[in-house]
């Protein structure tokens, strides 16, 4: 009865999700609701000269228009991880910092009326010259503000490269990519006196409520944000989104509940994206494959509105032993949507560069790319010198190779043909940092023998509800049927959001500490635990999940079409809380990686600077027909510093897959793919 952790169980909310009963933010019935439709700037830089409110004020059902002239004032101090966030300062002035910036909200009795008025609303701009063209050598480029992934210099990279038998020096590029969760961002807000209530689709109701309180200059206890079911986030719902800020403004001005749901185009244009990157890699090795030096320099784009860091070089400090390692990150401010974390931030584009370069090195050394990786396994953190808490990359590589049948591979390119198709295989190794953030949990013993476990978690589809129920059951040594889990509410106490592959570790830790306290007081009453001090006592170690991804692709040189025929991932993610859901999560991550490799590319018109493929017809994400059956499994692994031994599995699936596919395309064709996505025109012969 106490081994819920480790058991493959279906999702607790499964029935609700297959019957349509699960309510997402735009589904919750609210009496007296009005609808707000957002109007976005159509120029890439400039000023709003006029918003023609009188043209729509008399349209049927229209309650009014909010623009920079009548919007409630917001506190400019509001922000998040990266400091004050200018993207939150909506409708505060006439300045347009990027195309897609909200310039007005039209509110009406019905959705149709609001949409018609929003489409009819004349907005006149004074355009200014813009710059949305990202290049690594852009004159505005400057060192990134590194609150993590700091620049490092270990050893003498120049001397080691000079002494190397083989040196690979190449640039790798990844485009703007969009999280594209299936649920568009939606918020419904209303005021109860001085209390602000909201139902919002986000990844962390506690932090979002805090930000909202700061924005509206309210005491945090006056703001409550709930988010029962969330239709995916992948990073794009990590912040206090425009839908929520605008809904709260409208609810105040019009004195009734207002629902603001972004259109799909607006999700692309106004929420968050992964920035384009341009990365230089120089790797030098001896003839036996031993690495002498890795130099990894990554440039990415940002917006002047808010600092951001795409930590592309983080796994370069983790994966391989080398005598010298040098990393640099630079940011190029442009007139673009502020970038933000997208599933596998930093690591996904970073590993594409590093693991492609490693494959090129193996080619030039005439080595098996698997052997090259095994040969450079470090005994301690290559930069930090700290021991690894646990490191099972070799197990992933060896077991993956065994299952894939890697040993029969002819490592020469362009040797396999099946009719008109070229066939190739490739692999990539990867890591993703593991850890936890402070969270709190409250457990109450109920009279009927059940336990109410309250934690400010949210379930974006990660399976948090099911995993935390199992963790609570084991911690209290009772069956899962005696756990009543409450999540998705900012009122449940401080908690980390769903992100950074740290949801289960952060929330589960708090639940375990609360359960220990409750057991210590005879399982009676209510206890609250906060993990802040426990986390502070965690010794400094290299803590990472690892994986190895193997793939087989076919390439049609006549059409340029690449199809992934086989995809296999072996993962070391600490203890697996629920194998059924964890497998789904890493398989989903690998599909995200496949999509990144072959399909995804936000495109800008060079003249207007605008994003021109802001829908699912133009911005392709992998569909059923793109995806083969996928093999994924876990090697035994354990994280000693975190209760239950969990590391987190949310993002590592995304990482590595793109490089494995690019390497397989080289193996099939003999041509390197150093820019993503691997479009038809880049493959066509």
């Amino acid at each position: 009865m106490t081994n819920a952790v480790g058991a493959a169980r279906p999702r607790i909310e499964g029935r609700a999700k297959v019957t349509g009963a699960a309510l997402y933010a735009a589904d919750v019935p609210v009496p007296g609701l009005a609808f707000g439709v957002v109007v976005l700037a159509t120029v890439s830089r400039g000023r709003v000269r006029d918003v023609g409110v009188c043209a729509v004020q008399g349209m049927p059902g229209v309650l009014g228009v909010i623009d920079h002239r009548n919007a409630p004032r917001l506190d400019p101090a509001a922000g998040g991880f990266f400091g004050p966030d200018g993207q939150l300062q909506l409708l505060q002035d006439e300045v347009i910092p990027f195309a897609g910036r909200p310039v007005a909200l039209v509110v009406a009795e019905t959705l149709e009326q609001a949409r018609a008025a929003a489409e009819a609303l004349p907005v006149i701009y004074d355009e200014e010259p813009h710059d949305t063209a990202f290049t690594a050598d852009h004159p505005a480029s400057r060192p990134a503000v590194t609150i993590f992934d700091e620049p490092v210099d270990v050893g003498d990279v120049a001397a080691e490269l000079a002494a190397s038998r083989v040196v690979v020096e190449e640039r790798y590029r990844t485009p703007e990519e969009h999280c594209s969760a299936m649920e568009p961002h939606s918020a419904t807000a209303w005021w109860e006196g001085e209390h602000l209530e909201a139902i919002d689709s986000n990844q962390g109701p506690f932090s979002v409520a805090r930000t909202l309180a700061t924005l509206f200059s309210l005491s945090p206890d006056l703001v409550r944000v709930r988010t029962e079911h969330v239709g995916g986030g992948f990073g794009s719902k990590g912040l206090c989104g425009p839908q929520l800020i605008l809904a709260a403004m409208a609810a105040r001005l019009f004195g009734r509940p207002v629902r603001v749901t972004l259109t799909r185009a607006q999700v692309f244009l106004a929420t968050a994206m992964r920035p384009a990157t341009d990365q230089l890699i120089r790797i030098g090795a001896d003839a036996d494959g031993g690495l002498r030096a890795i130099h990894h320099e990554a440039a990415f784009e940002i917006s002047p509105l808010v600092e951001y860091l795409e930590g592309c070089t983080e796994l370069t400090k983790t994966l391989y032993a080398a005598r010298a390692i040098r990393t640099r990150l630079s940011a190029v401010p442009l007139d673009i949507l502020p970038p933000y974390s997208m599933r596998g931030p930093g690591a996904a584009p970073g590993s594409f560069a590093l693991e492609s370069a490693m494959d090129e090195l193996a080619e030039r050394l005439g080595m098996d790319p698997l052997e090259l990786r095994l040969r450079n396994e470090p005994v301690a953190g290559p930069v930090s010198g700290l021991p690894f808490s646990s490191r099972n990359l070799v197990a992933c590589l060896r077991e993956g190779a065994r299952r894939f049948g890697w040993d029969t591979r002819d490592h020469r390119p362009r040797t396999r043909r099946e009719g008109p198709l070229l066939v190739g295989t490739g692999l990539a190794a990867t890591s993703f940092s593991a850890g936890a953030f402070p969270s709190s949990a409250t457990i109450t013993t109920e009279a009927d023998g059940t336990f109410t476990v309250a934690v400010g978690a949210t379930d974006l589809g990660t399976g948090a509800r099911t995993a935390l129920t199992a963790i609570a059951a084991d911690a209290l040594a009772v069956g899962t049927d005696r756990i009543r889990l409450r999540i998705s509410d900012s009122g449940l106490g401080p908690a980390w959001g769903a992100g950074g592959s740290r949801g289960t570790t952060s929330w589960g830790w708090a639940i375990i500490e609360a359960a220990e306290k409750l057991r210590g007081q005879g399982r009676r009453g209510t206890v609250t635990a906060d993990t802040t001090s426990s986390l502070g006592g965690l010794p400094s170690l290299e803590r990472h999940a690892f994986s190895a991804v193997f793939t087989e692709v076919t390439v049609d040189p006549m059409t340029g079409e690449v199809r992934v025929r086989r995809l296999l991932g072996m993962f070391a993610v600490g203890r697996v809380v629920n194998p059924l859901m964890a497998r789904s999560q890493v398989v989903g991550g690998m599909i995200g990686g496949l999509s990144m490799a072959l399909h995804e590319e936000g495109l800008r018109d060079p003249v207007s600077g605008r994003h021109v493929n802001a829908d699912f017809a133009g911005y392709h994400i992998a569909a059923h027909a793109d995806v083969p059956d996928i093999e994924a499994d876990f090697v035994p692994d354990h994280e000693p510093g975190i209760p239950m031994g969990v590391k987190g599995a949310g993002e590592i699936g995304n990482v590595g897959t793109a490089a494995a596919i690019a390497n397989a395309v080289w193996h099939a064709t003999g041509v390197r793919q150093r820019s993503l996505p691997i479009r038809l025109d880049r493959v066509l012969e």
Binding site: K17, V18, Y24, P29, E112, F616, I621, A623
Partner: protein
């Protein structure tokens, strides 16, 4: 006074008749969600590009965001809420739960309705773009993974539950076959 912007229509939703006074611009999706109160069908793109709003209209799958409510007058609409009726889940729904055919669940209503419609299309002998022999007297297409993937490609899933969805659909089809 006649309002030329509105119409009163009859819709049969999951077997229940509804009389609705709708804005002529209202899509079937918005009518179901906002007027009937069935929020199972989801708005993922409002452009017919993602399939989250898929419902069955007189037994055939349609994207309800590209269907005007007034154009569905008198039609029989089945949403995800109506798949199981009041009681037991369909084998398809049970397979989605057991095989973990969803994560966030936002596309699930559409995937389920689409799969139900697709299985009926296949049973009626309809070919797909990957069916090898599409001649009128050709054999009935065998529903393998490639056929399911092709036929389900109008339903996007960003969590990446595709392999489990395909397995759930194939398992359901196999059960039907066994049951005859």
């Amino acid at each position: 006074m006649t309002n030329h912007h509105r119409s009163v229509i009859s819709l049969q939703v999951n077997g229940v008749p509804h009389r609705l006074d709708v804005d002529n611009r209202t899509t079937l999706l918005d009518a179901l969600r906002e007027d009937v109160g069935h929020t199972g069908p989801k708005k993922g793109c409002d452009h017919g590009q993602c399939g989250a709003c898929t419902v069955l209209l007189d037994g055939r799958r349609v994207v309800s965001c590209l269907t005007l409510a007034v154009a569905a007058e008198d039609a029989e609409v089945t949403t995800v809420e109506g798949l199981a009726g009041d009681g037991e889940l369909l084998p398809l729904q049970r397979a989605f739960i057991g095989l973990d055919g969803f994560q966030c669940g936002y596309c699930t209503s559409g995937q389920l309705c689409s799969a139900a419609g697709m299985l009926a299309e296949h049973a009626a002998g309809w070919p797909s773009a990957v069916t090898a022999d599409v001649s009128p007297d050709g054999p009935a297409p065998v529903l393998d993974a490639a056929e399911v993937r092709e036929r389900m490609s109008g339903n996007l899933c960003r969590c990446g539950a595709y392999p489990s969805i395909v397995r759930a659909v194939l398992e359901t089809a196999a059960r039907k076959e066994i049951a005859g």
